[in-house]
Each structure stands twice: as C-alpha cells, then as structure tokens.
C-alpha cells in the first residue's frame, strides 16, 4: 500500500507545474470590509442632522453600534459560508480566527446597542437608567419585530457564553457546534427589527435595498457552498471507508475509496471535513488533512486519537459511507515562491507535510523535511517518508527527545547549521501551537522572511 501511494505519478505530474505563487486576497478583502464600515457610518452621518442633548447622544451611540453590528453580523456569517476564495486562498484557519475575533466583537456591539438604545428610550420617556428593564419590556411589547429580536439576542447570549474559552473547552465539541448553528436562527430573528425600526432604513430606501442585498447574498452563499456544493460532491464521488491501518500506537490511517476522486480538485496540503456515517459519528464532521496526494480511486487521512471523534476512527468498518466537504486549506504548492522548500512537521502535523513532501515539484536536494516527535516510535509514516526521500533525492531529518526526556534543540543556529541556505527557502509548517511558535521564531532568527513561512493552525 505504501509504495502504491508514494508512486502517485499522475498526481505528481499534475503539480509539476511552474512555481506560480498566488498571493492571498486577504488585504483586498480587509480593505473592502473597512470601506463597508465607513459606508455604514456615512449612512448614519447623513441621516442625523443634529444631536440635541445627552439623551440624543446615547440614542445615536446606540444607532451607530446597531448599524455596525448589523453590518458585521452578515460578514461573520459570510466567513463561515465555506466560500472557496476564503477557504482555499486566505486559508480556513485564518478565516476561522477572523470569524472568532469578529464574532466576539460583533456580539459586544450587539449588547452595547441594546443597552444604549434602551437607556436612551428610557431617558426620552422621562425615566432614568434604573427603568431600563421596564423600558426594554415595553419596547419588546410595542415595537414591530422586537419580540423576534429579543429571542435572537437571547440566542446570541447563549452562543457567546458557550464560545468563551474555558466553557468551550469543557463542552463536548458536538454540543458547542450545535449551539453554534443557532447563529443562523439568531441572525434571521434579529434581521427584521433592523429594517422596521431602524431610523436610517426608514428614511433611506437605498440603504434598505443595500441591507437586503447584503443579507440576501450572504444567505445565497451559505446555501450554495454549505449545502448544495457538498451534496453535489458526495453524489458524484460516493466515498466509503476502504481500510483502517494502525500506523503507530494512537495514530491511524483511514483509506477512503470512491469514484473519480482526482476530480475533486484536492491538492496536497489540503483537508476535508469528514463525516463518517457510522453509529454515534454521523452528527459531527471533523477536519483531517490528506496524508497522501489524492489518487483517482483513493484518498488517505492519518489521524491521531486525541478527541472522542478521532479515537473512534479505529473502529470504522470497511464499507462505511463517508460524507466529505472540501477541499479546504491554503497551505498548498501555490503558496510557494522559491525553488527550495523546508517542510516542518510536529507530531501528527506530518499528514499535510507527507503529501507535500511527495508532490512538491523540485530537483534532488530542493526539498527538506524536518520531522519532530517525542520518540522514534512516534514517527508515524516514517518508512514511507524514507522511501519518498530515496526516490526523489529529498532530505529527511527528524528530531526527538533524548532518552532522559530533554527536548531537541531547534534554534536559529542549529537550523542554519543543518541548512546553510535556509534563508533562501520557503517553509511550510504544521504542528501544535507551542511548537509552531518556537519554530517560527527560530526560522525568523535564521533569516527566513515572515512572508515565506506558511503555517496553518486551528487553535484560536
């Protein structure tokens, strides 16, 4: 099995193209987001001739935070719509971090908006800040769509609470995920009060049209890329588990067969979100990288048992239906800008590196893989890696703890010593956050520019 996977010659030929680095569209997207925010503030500015008093200031602060929250909420959902430009070019990990960051910020804006508006209304009605609860109840009863908005805000509170670091770590992933799915309901419920009670939308029909267009296109993208595209993919490729192989204690490879798998457009370094239709596993999907270049009839993932889901993989029986979504991830050959490449893998982070090690185009000596693990027994896929290294004249190095448990020295000096022209390399890196951070600093110290260090991390 090892040799057949290593010899995916068709796949290698496919990636043996000229090195054409594609820049991530992140900067352009961020500029567009800022421009939109300025547009929203401009809308408020044009519709507010003056602010008479303290009360007016509070109300208008509430309007500004509300408008910004409404705008950002659409983008927060858009970030999770699995749009290929975001998933494959910006990178799923980076987009997920944006999503977490902007999601928290947007929730803060939502809560500030609710507080400020209700405070403002209370003052306007001649009451004081202390009557804010009564005012909120009155507003929910009297104003259109406010009941819905209140329920939506309640859901946002729940979603926010379950996403706070310590709470989230204690919750089972599935619970957190299904609570998180309520975001769609919350966004839907809170949308309508923006249109019916929003001062700026009542005054400015163009603004209303724009708002409908924003939310409408996000909805369309979510339906298309999260529902329809995966359905088409799985109807076409009909994947099933072929075999489960134990690589090292605690690390298993799952071989997945299907039709015309090379047509899925997956590249080495990318991942799919996998859902195995076995009892107890069908309700959640998990991201696992391909650990070999895709072949027309076979995909392979290699997974370390660290959570409930990954531990159950070893119990999969051949023939189990597989539902996959992807491919996602931007850490592919497209990121490369130099002839020479250093791949750095920490532990099970070897999976995408293994696929890249096999397929990255390069002459003998161009490609180097540095593999870090606790012990030599933990070096999963080592035999394959050695075979690939032999086959293409690539360098393969490993670093393990010494017998007394001391960590290996991965410093700038040591890296330069092993690879004197390290500053001429592109570096691809995958591993636990702490490991990645220390290697990153060593690489920078050894003279590798930040833009040539390509890293993917799913830790927030």
């Amino acid at each position: 099995m090892t040799t057949t996977l290593a010899g995916g010659r068709a796949a290698r030929r496919q990636t043996m193209r000229r090195i054409r680095p594609r820049r991530s569209p992140a900067t352009v997207l961020l500029l567009a987001v800022w421009a939109g925010a300025v547009g929203v503030l401009w809308l408020w500015w044009m519709n507010t001739p003056s602010i008479a008093d303290q009360n007016g200031k509070i109300l208008n602060a509430g309007r500004i935070t509300g408008l910004l929250a409404g705008y950002l909420m659409a983008l927060v959902v858009l970030q999770m719509a699995r749009v290929p430009a975001l998933e494959r070019r910006v990178g799923s990990d980076r987009v997920a971090r944006w999503h977490a960051m902007s999601g928290r910020y947007t929730l803060c804006l939502v809560f500030a908006h609710v507080f400020l508006i209700m405070w403002g209304y209370a003052l306007q009605a001649g009451k004081s800040l202390g009557d804010i609860v009564q005012q909120t109840i009155d507003s929910i009863n009297q104003l259109p769509d406010m009941g819905k908005a209140a329920i939506g805000t309640g859901l946002f509170v729940l979603i926010g609470l379950t996403s706070i670091g310590p709470v989230r770590r204690r919750l089972p992933y599935d619970t957190w995920y299904h609570v998180h799915l309520l975001t769609y309901a919350a966004v839907f419920l809170t949308f309508w009060h923006q249109i019916t009670t929003g001062n700026d939308f009542a005054v400015e029909p163009t603004a209303k049209t724009f708002w409908y267009a924003l939310y409408g296109s996000v909805t369309a993208l979510v339906i298309w890329y999260r529902i329809l595209v995966p359905i088409r993919l799985n109807m076409r490729h009909r994947m099933r588990v072929e075999a489960v192989i134990e690589e090292t204690p605690g690390i298993v490879s799952v071989l997945i067969g299907g039709r015309k798998l090379h047509r899925m457009g997956a590249e080495a370094g990318q991942f799919f979100r996998w859902r195995f239709l076995a009892p107890g596993m069908r309700f959640s999907s998990h991201p696992y990288s391909l650990s070999a270049a895709p072949r027309p009839d076979m995909l392979r993932i290699t997974v370390k048992a660290i959570g409930d889901h990954s531990a159950r993989l070893r119990e999969l029986t051949p023939g189990t239906r597989v539902w996959a979504e992807g491919p996602y991830g931007a850490m592919t050959a497209q990121r490369r800008s130099r002839g020479k490449v250093l791949l750095v893998a920490g532990g099970v982070g070897i999976t995408p590196m293994r696929a890249l090690f096999e397929t990255l185009p390069g002459a003998a000596g161009d490609i180097t893989l540095l593999y870090r693990a606790n012990t030599t027994q933990d070096l999963a896929l080592w035999d394959e890696l050695a075979a690939i290294a032999d086959d293409r004249g690539a360098r393969l190095m490993y670093a393990v703890n010494s017998p007394d448990g001391e960590r290996p020295d991965i410093s700038a000096e040591r890296l330069r010593q092993k690879l004197p022209d390290i500053d001429k390399h592109d570096v691809f890196m995958c591993g636990p956050a702490g490991f990645a951070q220390s290697v990153y600093e060593a690489l920078r110290g050894a003279g590798v520019p930040a833009r040539r260090i390509h890293h993917e991390s799913f830790e927030m």
Binding site: N47, Q142, Y440
Partner: protein, 266 residues
C-alpha cells in the same frame, strides 16, 4: 504567525470603538437647524434683518427677505423673497438640494414652487409631487420669510399687537369659542393634524386628531403630542419648540397648527 496578544487586542478594539463613536457624536451640531427655522428666536431678528432693505417705505415692506434655512434629508433649502408694497413680486431659492437625483428634482420643483409662491402670496402652496422633501423644506423656509415680512410690516405700521392676534381680536366681539382643524401635515412617519379651540382670540385647547402610529411612532407620539399641545396653548401661536427625538412629528404638528391658526385668524 505573529505572537497574538489577546488582552492588548481587546483593549485596542474597545478603545478604538468607544473613541470613534464619541468622536462621531461630538462632531454633530447640538441644535437642529431645521428646528431653529421654526423656532421662536428668529422672529425678533427678522425685523432687523429686513429693515435695512425695506425699512424706508412707511406702512409698506419692500426689499428682499431671506427665509431661514430649512434642512431636508437631501440638503438645505432657503428661500429669498423680493417684496414691493407688501406683495411678493419674486421668489427664488438661494439654497436647494444638489447632487445625484437631487439636481433633477431641484430643477423640476423649484421653478414651480417659486411661481406658486408669487401667485398664492402665502405658504399655502402645493408640494411638487416627486419632490416632497424639497417642497416641504421650501415651504418651511418660505413660511419663515413670510413671518419676517409680517413682522417688519407690523413694526412699521406700529399697529397694536402682532398681525395674528390682531386679526382674530377684531372678531372677538362674538366671544364664542370656536374649534378649528388645521390642514393635514404629511411627515415621513404619517400624517399629523391639529385641532384647536379658540376663544377671545386665544388658544384654549389644542389636540392632535391625527398623529403617526405604529412601531416606534407610537412611543414618539405618546411622548411628543402632550408636550406640543401644552406648548401651543401656552404660546398662543405656532412658534413652539420641537420635542427632541420626535422632530418630524413636531414639524408636522407645527405645520398643521399654523394652518389652524391661519384659519382661525381669518
């Protein structure tokens, strides 16, 4: 992967947001030029403003009079009247909404409005359809120019009292309380219509027979109308303050109140 500093990020984001919002709020003027146009203060200055131009003719007001700036959501409108022997001989807009579709609307509406003004000799002119906001702004500014014109004429004639109360005072012999309903004033949240009870040339009671309903408007109406009714009785004229937070309703109220007063004053 740069080192992340979650705390620093939170502090920066909050500080940037709070200071941004505070900056935006502080850049806005404290008083609505729109509300001021209908306010009481400009009337005192009106005479002084008009007299250098028209003060020479005794018993007649001649010259040009500029109305107050009326702010509409598409831009400012300001009317200039040329008056000879107490009659409007010419009306023009020295400010009107510009840019985008506003250019077109201004070009369409302003000539009609100025024509109507000269023909009607009052602010009771029809709005140009398709240019409601501009028309309303025009009428507001025109009304303030007319008020100034009346005030300067009144002071030149040195007659007793203001023209309005003088007018209704002459019919006070009947001493009968009468109820007058003002014209419906359209605001963007709904129509406003004021009914006043007048006895001996004084407003004894004011109420709104129509006011914006539904949504936020209920709240605003409940808040603003009682205040406006009180103010109307206290002031005896339409020069009352707008209720903050209910500017549109207040504007409509004042329009309708003015028309009721015009009817009552005959």
């Amino acid at each position: 992967m740069k080192k992340s500093h979650p705390i620093r990020r939170v502090v920066l984001a909050s500080a940037a947001t709070v200071s941004g919002v505070v900056l935006l709020l502080s850049l806005k003027p404290a008083s609505d030029p729109n509300a001021q146009a209908a306010g009481a203060a400009p009337q005192q200055t009106a005479g002084a403003q008009a007299s250098p131009q028209g003060g020479t003719g005794s018993g007649t007001a001649s010259g040009t009079i500029d109305g107050n700036v009326a702010q509409t959501q598409y831009g400012n409108v300001q009317v200039r009247l040329t008056v000879a022997n107490g009659k409007i001989t010419k009306a023009e807009a020295i400010q009107a909404p510009k840019g985008g579709t506003s250019d077109q609307k201004t070009a369409l509406s302003i000539p009609k409005l100025t024509q109507e003004t000269v023909a009607a000799q009052s602010a009771q002119i029809d709005a140009v359809s398709g240019a409601t906001y501009t028309s309303n702004g025009y009428k507001q500014s025109l009304q303030s120019a007319l008020d100034k014109m009346k005030a300067s004429a009144g002071s030149a004639q040195s007659g007793g009292g203001s023209s309005q109360s003088g007018g209704s005072g002459s019919s006070s012999g009947a001493a009968q309380a009468k109820t007058v309903t003002g014209a419906v004033a359209q605001t963007q949240y709904g129509p406003v219509q004021v009914r006043i009870t007048v006895a001996n040339g004084k407003i004894t009671k004011a109420d709104a027979v129509q006011a914006p309903k539904g949504g936020l408007s209920d709240q605003k109406t409940a808040l603003a109308i009682p205040k406006l009714n009180q103010e109307a009785v206290a002031a005896g004229n339409a020069q009352i303050d707008s209720v903050s937070g209910a500017t549109y309703t207040s504007g409509g109220y004042k329009q309708s109140l003015q028309s009721a007063l015009d009817q009552a004053g005959g």
